[in-house]
């Protein structure tokens, strides 16, 4: 992978000099704002990028040009943050310098902010790769801008319909983005997702596919948001011989010839070891290898597989991949652990029915008493439509009522959540409403006995608020210092 041609920033001409001035202006404005917002205790992942893009709309592409290697985009509904973190971890272990928008700010300005953060004041960038998690809706625009050599697709689920309209539109957006990728690039696609796998590959591009080939127990959740029931090619009924979760599994169409493609990279074995460590057996086209890792849930198996496939496409040695995955820890707000005064807080971001059900599954498997704090905001980054809460199987909580020592709801939509839990079968008297997220954390923590566990389930902006509270308690590292 070489450098792509583009703006020549170093040499003559008035236009070029003006461009360079604007680039520096953008970087400086961005960096100054970043400093300012961080003094205020915020991450500075939105405003600096927005401001810089106003000064120079092509800022991201100009900075990406300066990488010695290439850029990669990770997109899809669930698993973007973890997958991009795993890929970054592997690249770093392989000795590459990486830029990564690890705080999950994944719109065009989030990408710009991450690049500005990594650039020097003179506009140079000392990095080999940029790994960018990109929102599905922003995907075509960002692809056009940064022209990534590799694109990794996780899955398409129902998420933030207020922003994208419908699941069909998300697939359209992903198609358009893939068409905008430069020729001779590669794409990594989840073979178990019928709507992703049905996207036609483009001549000149290398497609890599991955999928699970395991015998897992059947899905017990009744409503895991099967958004795809019919064949994406001919609309007849899709038949599944295996379902891993939601609509991910082994499928074929009854009417036409459409079926799950044979994956290049397959997960063929999973052995649980002590202390949550799992040994995975992964099959590549030319070899098999084993890797130890410790992330929970089926959804993380897909994230690991996507990262391994991307590493294979980049021709990174298997031993490096295995070493990097062994040291992987949960990313930003994905089952992060915090300990204070002998109490454990477990923070898990929730943003759509499928992801939230996976989190609930983990909670249901807990032994002993637990506290629960659910914080729902409805800002743009959370999704302004909270009806998805009704598609989450919160009913499952009513089966462990006596295990729940405290239940608190918080955030701008705390009362919506309280009503949701009432109709899920919890006693409204058992549910405390505290809209302020900081106060909700403090009171929940107070009510958690020493040695007890508190599960915190926030939406994205509620999580950012809560991390600020945890910072003040001296717990979470500010995420710009990761």
């Amino acid at each position: 992978m070489g450098k792509k041609s583009g703006y020549d920033l170093e040499t003559g001409g008035f236009e070029n000099r003006l461009f360079k001035l604007k680039l520096l202006g953008g970087i400086w404005a961005g960096k100054k704002l970043m400093g300012l917002t961080r003094i205020l205790g915020r991450g500075g992942t939105t405003l600096p990028g927005r401001m810089a893009l106003k000064i120079l709309p092509q800022l991201s592409s100009a900075l990406i040009e300066r990488l010695t290697d290439d850029s990669l985009i990770v997109t899809g509904t669930n698993g973007k943050t973890t997958t991009s973190a795993l890929i970054t971890g592997i690249l770093k272990d392989a000795g590459f310098r990486c830029i990564h928008n690890q705080s999950g700010s994944n719109m065009s300005w989030g990408v710009a902010s991450a690049l500005i953060g990594a650039a020097s004041w003179s506009g140079s960038i000392a990095a080999d790769f940029a790994v960018m998690e990109v929102d599905e809706g922003a995907f075509p625009g960002v692809t056009k801008e940064i022209r990534p050599g590799g694109i990794v697709l996780t899955n398409i689920f129902r998420d933030q319909l207020d922003r994208y309209g419908e699941v069909d539109h998300v697939q359209d957006s992903i198609k358009r983005g893939l068409e905008l990728q430069p020729e001779n690039g590669f794409e990594v696609i989840n073979a178990d997702d019928p709507s992703l796998a049905s996207i036609k590959s483009i001549p000149g591009k290398k497609r890599w596919t991955y999928g699970l080939e395991l015998d897992l127990p059947a899905d017990t959740f009744q409503n895991t948001g099967r958004d795809i029931k019919s064949c994406p090619v001919c609309n007849e009924k899709l038949v599944y011989t295996k379902i891993y979760f939601a609509h991910l599994g082994h499928y074929h169409c009854q009417a036409c010839s459409y079926k799950r493609p044979e994956p290049d990279v397959r997960l063929i074995g999973q052995i649980s070891g002590p202390e949550g460590v799992t040994v995975l057996k992964i099959s590549l086209p030319e070899s098999e290898f084993e890797v130890k890792y410790s992330l929970p849930g089926t959804y993380n198996l897909y994230n690991v597989l996507a990262a391994v496939t991307c590493a294979r496409a980049l021709e990174i040695p298997v031993a490096t991949v295995a070493r990097a995955l062994e040291s992987a820890v949960p990313s930003f707000g994905r089952m992060e652990l915090f300990e204070i005064e002998g109490k454990t807080m477990i923070m898990a971001l929730i943003k759509n029915p499928v992801g939230a059900n996976e989190v609930l599954r983990t909670i249901l498997a807990q032994k002993g008493k637990i506290g629960l704090l659910v914080a729902i905001n409805d800002k743009i980054a959370d999704g302004t439509d909270v009806s998805w809460l009704w598609d989450v199987d919160f009913e499952q909580l009513s089966t462990i009522k006596e295990k729940l020592s405290t239940v608190t709801v918080s955030g701008l939509r705390a009362l919506d959540m309280a009503v949701r839990l009432k109709y899920a079968g919890l006693d409204p008297g058992q549910v405390q409403v505290e809209e302020d997220t900081a106060r909700a954390i403090n009171s929940s923590l107070e009510q958690t006995p020493p040695g007890g566990r508190l599960f915190i389930l926030p939406t994205y902006t509620a999580m950012l608020e809560m991390r600020r509270t945890l910072n003040k308690l001296g717990l979470a590292k500010p995420y710009w210092e990761d």
Partner: protein, 253 residues
């Protein structure tokens, strides 16, 4: 003992915007009062036994699902129309609401026929109408508010024989221009509002249940439930819909 049979149309296909919440609200609120509920899920190809159905619930769907369903339902629209005339209760949200009308015109000018149950038609709009919505609804005297979330590309226009469900206080409503939202014909209610609509507007859930019981002449005295929490959520949602932040977002959508 009072009993209501709810036919849930295509739970696998029409389930886009928390429609499960509407079903939960109907079932819970009936059960809390000791009314038995039988839910009959209907999948494409299944025959609906209209004479047996008290309440038909139709949710929202994606465009691709919608076409499938329109074709499947066409063969039964006469039975459906007869039942509606007799007073069967229908609650239809978003895509299904459009489907009950005469036709839907797509952006390309293609005209997709509806079930012709009620006198309304829908045209595809240029931009999606998305955001929190509040309407004033005259099913009760004095009128009550309903609060929900709308997300639709189609603009729906009512014929003169139809009453709107309410007038728009915040949001877009049927088409963003005439201030109407939803439609009421006998015991049929169609609306663009989800959110889910019924849990946060429990009086509408109760209205539907009451009408379903009346339809079968079931003598049942409707007891009041403790709706303090629902009322609080309703009031909070109205405050949020009226706040500056949402108005700004609504104009950006």
């Amino acid at each position: 003992m009072a009993e209501i049979k709810i036919y849930h149309l295509y739970p696998g296909h029409l389930n886009l915007y928390g429609d499960r919440g509407n079903m939960l609200a109907l079932c819970c609120r009936a059960n809390w009062r000791g009314i038995d509920v039988e839910i009959i899920p209907v999948e494409p190809g299944d025959k609906i036994n209209f004479p047996r159905c008290d309440l038909l619930f139709m949710g929202g769907g994606q465009d691709s699902d919608q076409k499938l369903i329109a074709e499947d339902l066409k063969g039964r629209s006469q039975d459906m129309r007869r039942a509606v005339e007799e007073g069967m209760v229908i609650f239809a949200v978003c895509g299904s609401y459009q489907l009950l009308g005469l036709y839907y015109t797509t952006n390309r000018g293609e005209k997709i026929g509806g079930l012709e149950i009620v006198d309304l038609y829908t045209e595809a709009g240029q931009k999606r109408l998305i955001g929190n919505a509040v309407i004033k609804c005259s099913l009760w005297d004095p009128a009550r508010t309903l609060v929900g979330f709308e997300n639709h590309a189609g603009k729906t226009y009512l014929g003169s024989s139809l009453q709107p469900l309410g007038t728009v206080i915040a949001g877009y409503g049927n088409n963003g221009t005439d201030k109407t939202e939803g439609a009421v014909y006998k015991n049929l209610i169609g609306t663009y509002l989800h959110g889910s609509l019924l849990p946060k507007n429990p009086w509408l859930a109760d209205y539907l249940l009451q009408r379903a019981l009346d339809y079968r002449d079931q003598d049942y005295h409707f007891t009041d439930l403790d709706d303090k929490l629902e009322q609080q959520a309703h009031d909070a949602a109205i405050r949020l819909a009226g706040s500056r932040r949402y108005k700004r977002m609504a104009t950006r959508a």
